[in-house]
């Protein structure tokens, strides 16, 4: 498939994904939208698997005769506790596979497999394999007809690889050839691989800052409740005990986890091995496909860096570290790791030196983006307001990854009073720019960010909102309620939300005074 076709496919897929996401927004609100928390939902599923797995292992009999009896015995524990435990374990595994698969799809649709995020993608691919293998291995432990079918099918599948002198499937020829030691192998696959998975996860998130290991509490509660109710309403029950001299007549197959077996039956082990291998290779190759040139990364100006650490604290990708300042003993200096920087500009928005009130023809801040420096933002803001002929001009700071502002730009009834200043990310906006706009004639300011939880750079919209709400440094100095300021969270395709926000702001402006004090929390009427 050509690169162009891949791009077209991705764009169409992304459009469809965003449409589905919007429906979820309507129900959950954007901050709790599960489609924006797929990674942490995967973590939640893993913790559920670990907790229920420990309890199940305590009750498990590790032998040919004991395995089926111990698992079947769960169905007879009082108050349905065994069914709840087993159901939670199985359905959490389904959730893990579903969540992780959707997580991979979402990241690919957003183009996150390339650039600085290549590391996360490449470390994530093996995790997908570990998840699948350990999930399949779990069925063997029950040692019922389904476990027998899955274990034998997996053995026959692996035998297509010319690795072993004696086929693995020979272990399942008859009861005489099958012994308790096989359960040590089963347990290694089902318990050992998840330990590798945890180790791999550590790598996967190592280059991220402010990592959430669980989804928001309400979402986590909803997911656990849904799984628990499902476990009780549709319990996971064992098939008849394994019988190696019989092929199971009918199986209640978990198609989400065991789809590989029927596909192998319908084709051949060689075909599905090639398919699985090709899928892994394609996933590993995606980050290396041709792409648009990587944008410039953040640059530190030692003369203007105060060593405050705010940029380092706010960088979502841990790309900024603080090192001793070479010229000022006892002071710190920000350092950017170009390999980790995603060029979001959140650091520039965090820098206290990014205030436009500083004197000087050219505004040089402590850390800046060469492709859209803070100085250029000030110039555009200044030029827009200086040339405005409108009585009540409005300034809009707009994230380029959010809803499109193209229809609002330029002259015309909708945008004559509007001056749009595009940002790399909403987090690039230093709060002092809002004060500066008001001081230089803006009647109102609209800040347009991505949906809550939907920031292209993970945390930009959150940091920006916290700064403006005076919960995070650098804070908006003036009191929020004294400013004709509107915040809009709107993703691509949600342009009507921008219109709505702009309309709301225009309605509020006549009621507010155009003059304000620069003393915090005061307004002059």
């Amino acid at each position: 498939m050509s690169v162009i076709n891949t791009r077209g496919l991705r764009q169409r897929g992304l459009k469809g994904w965003r449409t589905v996401e919007r429906y979820f927004d309507m129900a959950f609100g954007s901050a709790l939208n599960p489609l924006r928390h797929l990674g942490t939902i995967g973590f939640l599923a893993l913790w559920l698997l670990a907790a229920s797995g420990v309890l199940l292992y305590v009750l498990y009999g590790t032998s040919v005769d004991g395995a089926w009896l111990s698992v079947e015995g769960l169905a007879h524990l009082p108050m349905g506790l065994g069914r709840l435990l087993r159901g939670l374990h199985r359905y959490a595994a389904d959730l893990l596979m579903l969540g992780v698969s959707l997580h991979v799809l979402r990241e690919w649709l957003h183009g996150h497999e390339q650039g600085a995020r290549r590391f996360h993608w490449l470390t994530g691919v093996p995790l997908l394999v570990f998840c699948s293998m350990s999930a399949i291995g779990g069925f063997w432990l029950a040692w019922d007809r389904l476990g027998q079918y899955s274990a034998l099918s997996t053995a026959e599948w692996l035998d297509a690889l010319p690795l072993l002198a004696s086929p693995l499937a020979r272990n399942f020829l008859s009861h005489a050839s099958f012994n308790d030691r096989m359960f040590s192998l089963f347990i290694f696959v089902h318990v050992g691989l998840p330990l590798l998975l945890l180790f791999g996860l550590w790598f996967h998130i190592q280059r991220l800052a402010h990592v959430a290991m669980l989804p928001p509490r309400r979402l986590a509660f909803g997911v656990i409740l849904a799984l628990a109710l499902l476990a009780l309403a549709r319990p996971v029950l064992s098939h008849a005990p394994a019988a190696l001299d019989q092929v199971p007549a009918q199986l209640r197959l978990d198609w989400l986890l065991l789809w590989l077996h029927p596909l192998t039956d319908a084709t051949s082990p060689g075909f599905t091995l090639a398919l699985a291998g090709a899928a892994v290779l394609v996933l590993l190759a995606l980050p290396f496909l041709p792409r648009t040139p990587r944008p410039a990364v953040a640059v530190v100006d030692p003369k203007n860096c105060s060593g405050c650490t705010w940029c380092s604290d706010d960088c979502p990708y841990a790309a900024i570290t603080m090192a001793p300042h070479p010229d000022h003993p006892g002071h710190l200096l920000a350092q950017v790791d170009a390999d980790l920087c995603t060029s979001c500009g959140i650091c520039a928005g965090a820098c206290p030196s990014s205030t436009p009130f500083r004197a000087g023809q050219r505004l040089v801040t402590g850390i800046d983006m060469p492709q859209l420096p803070i100085d250029a933002l000030r110039r555009r803001l200044h030029a827009g307001l200086a040339t405005s002929k409108e009585e009540r001009p409005i300034v809009m700071f707009s994230c380029r990854h959010g809803a499109s502002d193209a229809h609002l730009r330029g002259a015309g009834p909708r945008g004559a009073d509007l001056h749009v200043i595009e940002l790399l990310c909403a987090g690039q906006l230093p709060p002092s720019f809002i004060e500066y706009a008001m001081r230089h004639g803006a009647a109102g300011v609209l800040v347009a960010a991505c949906r809550e939880g939907g920031c292209e750079f993970r945390l930009g919209e959150r940091w920006m909102a916290q700064r403006l709400m005076r919960q995070r440094m650098p804070q908006l100095r003036i009191h929020a309620s004294a400013v004709p300021l509107q915040l809009a969270f709107a993703g691509p395709g949600e342009e009507p939300l921008l219109d709505q926000a702009l309309h709301g702001l225009r309605e509020r402006i006549p009621a507010m005074s155009p003059h304000m004090s620069m003393n915090a929390n005061e307004a002059i009427h």
Binding site: M26, A27, F28, S30, Y91, D94, E156, D159, A165, S166, P167, A169, R170, L173, S174, A176, G222, V223, A226, L227, L229, L230, R234, V236, L244, Q246, V247, P248, A249, Q250, L251, R252, L253, D254, W255, L256, D265, R451, E452, A465, L468, M469, R470, Q471, H479, A480, S481, A482, V483, L485, Q486, L487, F489, E494, L497, Q500, A501, G504, N521, E522
Partner: protein, 183 residues
């Protein structure tokens, strides 16, 4: 004026739907998720084999016989060897491939030759095949050979078996039990 920790402006209306709509939407989506998981983890039922079919597994794994005879080295040949390697008997390292044919009701269902493993072809060879056959009476005929030397024995086994639907019949080779065995 009190310090502000309140949101500057509430999010846009569509991002915060009204209570009942929101709860109903969440209920529906959680329900859909549960139904999806609940259904596709147990349905549709899968039948690994047809209702009137049985399975014959042909499975042999063993070390074939050497490809040639052992011979005694002459005194001259022994003298040329280092003292620690003067074994008077020299056998070829390479092993014979395994060769197997299975006929069911006179029709050939399998003909396989499995080469020995290893770079020097001195490892074991293995044959593993699944043959799906109709359930019921079957006449099975097996020919097996693990020795390419002239005049080597060809193991043959003929049997009439009745296979129940879903039954697994294993054809193996066990030298201690005289050759081909059915399990």
């Amino acid at each position: 004026m009190k310090p502000s920790t309140d949101p500057i402006v509430a999010g846009t209306p569509r991002s915060r739907p009204a209570g009942p709509v929101r709860w109903l939407g969440q209920f529906l989506l959680y329900g859909l998720f549960a139904v999806f998981i609940g259904v596709f983890t147990q349905w549709p039922p899968y039948h690994p084999l047809g209702a009137d079919q049985a399975l014959i597994k042909v499975s042999v794994a063993r070390l074939g016989q050497p490809v040639g005879e052992c011979r005694r080295l002459s005194d001259e040949e022994l003298a040329k060897l280092p003292p620690n390697m003067r074994d008077p008997i020299r056998c070829p390292r390479e092993r014979s491939p395994l060769s197997m044919e299975v006929h069911v009701n006179g029709a050939r269902m399998l003909k396989r030759v499995a080469e020995p493993g290893g770079l020097s072809k001195d490892g074991a060879a293995a044959i593993y095949e699944r043959l799906v056959v109709p359930a019921g009476k079957q006449q099975i005929s097996v020919r097996f050979n693990d020795d390419v030397r002239p005049g080597a024995r060809i193991y043959e086994y003929d049997a009439d078996v009745t296979l129940a639907p879903g039954q697994v019949l294993v054809i193996d080779f066990d030298a201690e039990k005289g050759g081909i065995v059915l399990l």
